[in-house]
């Protein structure tokens, strides 16, 4: 997904040396960095400046009271803006810049008090000030760097145009036109300007990718939270997922206890009672005893079925025997919707991860079957660079969301315990694609 411009430019240069290199691709590679630089410069010189000024005004209005209401949405906008730059950093330069915003407490009040609270929470978050500082840096140093990259290329191209004859209209006046340090006044100096333009162009193309990278490094340097903040955030996250894990395992134990108590245990008691009755009846009324015997056998079979279902709910046998890939295949065979499973796992992961992944897939599939109205489902399981990746796609009606107590938030919590993440893409009308990623090691 994310290729570094320097890397791709370098490979394009290498490819250019070989006779098979496709010209179009190489030209595109060369132009990518200057165009990106231009885009970044425009973003910095428009959005960042406007946002910074507006936020500054809003902050100044806080003592009057108006700022309390305007600041939170503006800061949200700033976060979206910096989030966009983070995305570009990952896509264009392969630089990952972590975001660390403090979450709002769950019991945030509504109304005016809630608004004041929200505003003060935002102002206390160091990430807010980092974002504002970044706006300032982005519209000055950040913009300068990318302007240099784009400017070198544009100015170089202009120099070539001058050399090609554009000097005539430009130097219609008496005084010569200064292109850089060249006073253009005739064909000779125009050619000199073209030469200079060529040098500038070459420099722009050569250093463009590097300058874009420097820009993103600058973004990273300003936006990356310091170690203490990262640790704070990590602790918050761990506390939250530990709560979830404890809650769900307690709920799970309660469910198992209840199922055993109401199901298998009750049936075994009934069976014992029947056997006692049979003992008393066997000589007096053999026919009745025989009838009870068959009932006792039925009870034992039912108890077994219930135990089996219970075991499947705790740890599916195929998962224990074969691992995630085959367990999901076996699961797919039991679904009422045609499901294709593609699993490529070079080994097995630790049992808790395997189990979490299995139940996450299982819940996602159940969701798809119940709500999506799909005809086909595809499950893709693979392992890449230290994480397990699972994609569940269906051709149903779409519109699935995480949150509001949907099954998918349960999946998200389940994965959260293992630092896993869940992403849902489900436009109305479908298709729905749920992707999960869990960092883990294979054995």
């Amino acid at each position: 997904m994310s290729t570094t411009p320097t890397g791709s430019a370098a490979s394009a240069a290498e490819a250019g040396g070989s006779p098979r290199a496709a010209g179009g691709g190489a030209v595109r590679e060369l132009l990518v960095a200057p165009v990106r630089a231009l885009v970044l410069a425009l973003l910095a010189l428009t959005g960042s400046i406007v946002l910074f000024v507006v936020v500054a005004v809003s902050l100044a209005l806080i003592p009057v009271g108006i700022g309390v209401f305007t600041t939170p949405p503006l800061i949200h906008l700033v976060r979206v803006w910096s989030g966009h730059r983070r995305l570009l950093a990952a896509d264009w330069a392969g630089i990952r810049i972590p975001a660390s915003y403090r979450p709002f407490p769950r019991d945030l009040r509504s109304g005016v008090t809630g608004q004041v609270e929200r505003c003060s929470l935002l102002l206390k978050d160091p990430a807010t000030w980092r974002d504002l500082l970044w706006l300032l840096v982005d519209m000055t140093a950040g913009a300068l760097i990318v302007l240099l990259a784009a400017g070198l290329v544009l100015h170089g191209l202009f120099g070539l145009l001058i050399g090609a004859g554009l000097w005539k209209p430009v130097t219609a006046l008496d005084d010569p036109y200064w292109y850089g340090f060249v006073p253009v006044g005739g064909w000779g100096t125009a050619l000199l300007a073209a030469l200079l333009g060529l040098v500038l162009l070459a420099a722009g193309l050569k250093f463009g990718p590097g300058l874009v990278r420097v820009h993103f490094q600058l973004v990273g340097a300003v936006l990356t939270p310091d170690r203490q903040q990262q640790l704070e955030q990590r602790i918050d996250r761990l506390t939250e997922t530990r709560h979830d894990a404890l809650d769900s395992s307690a709920a799970e134990l309660r469910r198992i206890e209840r199922d055993l108590h109401d199901g298998a245990q009750a049936r075994l008691v009934a069976m014992g009672m029947n056997l006692g009755t049979i003992e008393a009846l066997v000589e007096k009324d053999p026919a009745k005893a025989k009838e009870l015997l068959s009932k006792a056998r039925e009870s034992s079979a039912e108890a077994l079925t219930e135990l089996r279902d219970l075991v499947r709910g705790i740890h599916p046998p195929v998962l224990a025997e074969r691992g995630l890939g085959d367990a999901v295949k076996a699961l797919a065979l039991r679904l009422p919707v045609a499901t294709e499973v593609d699993a490529e796992l070079p080994g097995r992961m630790e049992a808790p991860v395997e189990s979490a992944a299995y139940f996450a897939v299982s819940e996602t599939l159940t969701n798809a079957v119940k709500h999506a109205g799909a005809d086909r489902i595809w499950v893709d399981i693979s392992y890449e660079s230290g994480s397990l990746r699972i994609a569940v796609t269906d051709d149903g009606r779409g519109g699935a969301v995480v949150g509001r107590g949907s099954g998918l938030s349960g999946v998200e919590r389940r994965l959260g315990t293992f630092d896993g993440v869940l992403a849902v893409s489900s436009p109305a009308g479908g298709p729905t694609m749920v992707t999960m990623e869990i960092p883990c090691a294979l054995s």
């Binding site: 089996r308 046998p317 195929v318 025997e321 076996a330 009422p336 045609a338």
Partner: protein, 219 residues
């Protein structure tokens, strides 16, 4: 009939030995682990093997793997696999070579001694004995999908019992119809599944395979 038995739980193994001996089977060996099973199958050449899916030392699907390996070494070796749970995935692996002589049953089926022994005999004779659970899962799914090969509901019932490995007489008894009616249904099923006229027993295995394969094609 000479049997090799593999089951790691002593009580169950003992019970199975008693049960089979009561029905005049000769127990060549009753083993409790995968390696022992492999050795017994290679050396003793039994008429049928009764194998638990999960066996030591790995306590995973060792029994199933041993059975599959033994059938690769000796195609058509009759194997009846017993399990605490049944999965279509395993059923398909067992039937995949198309040789017949395969059974895959829940352990509970031993409660009905006669039916169980009947299943062992069928498998030893080259037939199949699929657990009703495997078949019913498959049929439920097929009927929710498009109707498989255009079978009528009655034919589906017959198919279900046939897939379990029952004879026409047994199917007739269970459905309360004449054997001739069952024979008519089965030949309709064979025609609809596109199975060529050949040895009737083998076609019954093929019909099961056709069903399971369509399951695989769908899934």
């Amino acid at each position: 009939m000479r049997v090799v038995l593999a089951e790691d739980l002593f009580l169950l193994r003992d019970g199975l030995v008693r049960l089979l001996e009561a029905y005049d089977f000769e127990i060549l060996a009753a083993v409790e682990s995968g390696p022992e099973l492999s050795r017994a199958l290679a050396e003793l050449e039994p008429d049928v093997a009764v194998v638990d899916v999960r066996l030591p030392p790995s306590h995973t699907d060792e029994g199933l793997q041993c059975a599959l390996a033994a059938r690769r070494a000796r195609p058509g070796l009759p194997v009846l696999v017993l399990s605490q749970h049944v999965e279509q995935l395993y059923a398909r692996e067992l039937l995949a070579d198309g040789n017949g002589g395969i059974g895959y049953l829940l352990k509970d089926r031993v409660f009905d001694a006669e039916q169980f022994v009947d299943a062992v005999r069928r498998v030893a004779g080259g037939g199949t004995a699929m657990d009703p659970q495997v078949i019913s899962q498959l049929l439920t799914r097929r009927s929710q999908d498009r109707p498989m090969g255009g079978l009528t509901p009655r034919e589906l019932e017959v198919m279900e019992l046939m897939a379990q490995g029952r004879s026409n007489a047994a199917i007739a008894a269970q459905l309360g119809v004449t054997e001739r009616a069952v024979a008519k249904h089965t030949s309709n099923i064979f025609a609809k599944l596109g199975l060529p006229v050949s040895d009737d027993d083998n076609r019954r295995v093929l019909a099961v395979l056709a069903y399971l394969d369509r399951g695989a094609g769908q899934g």
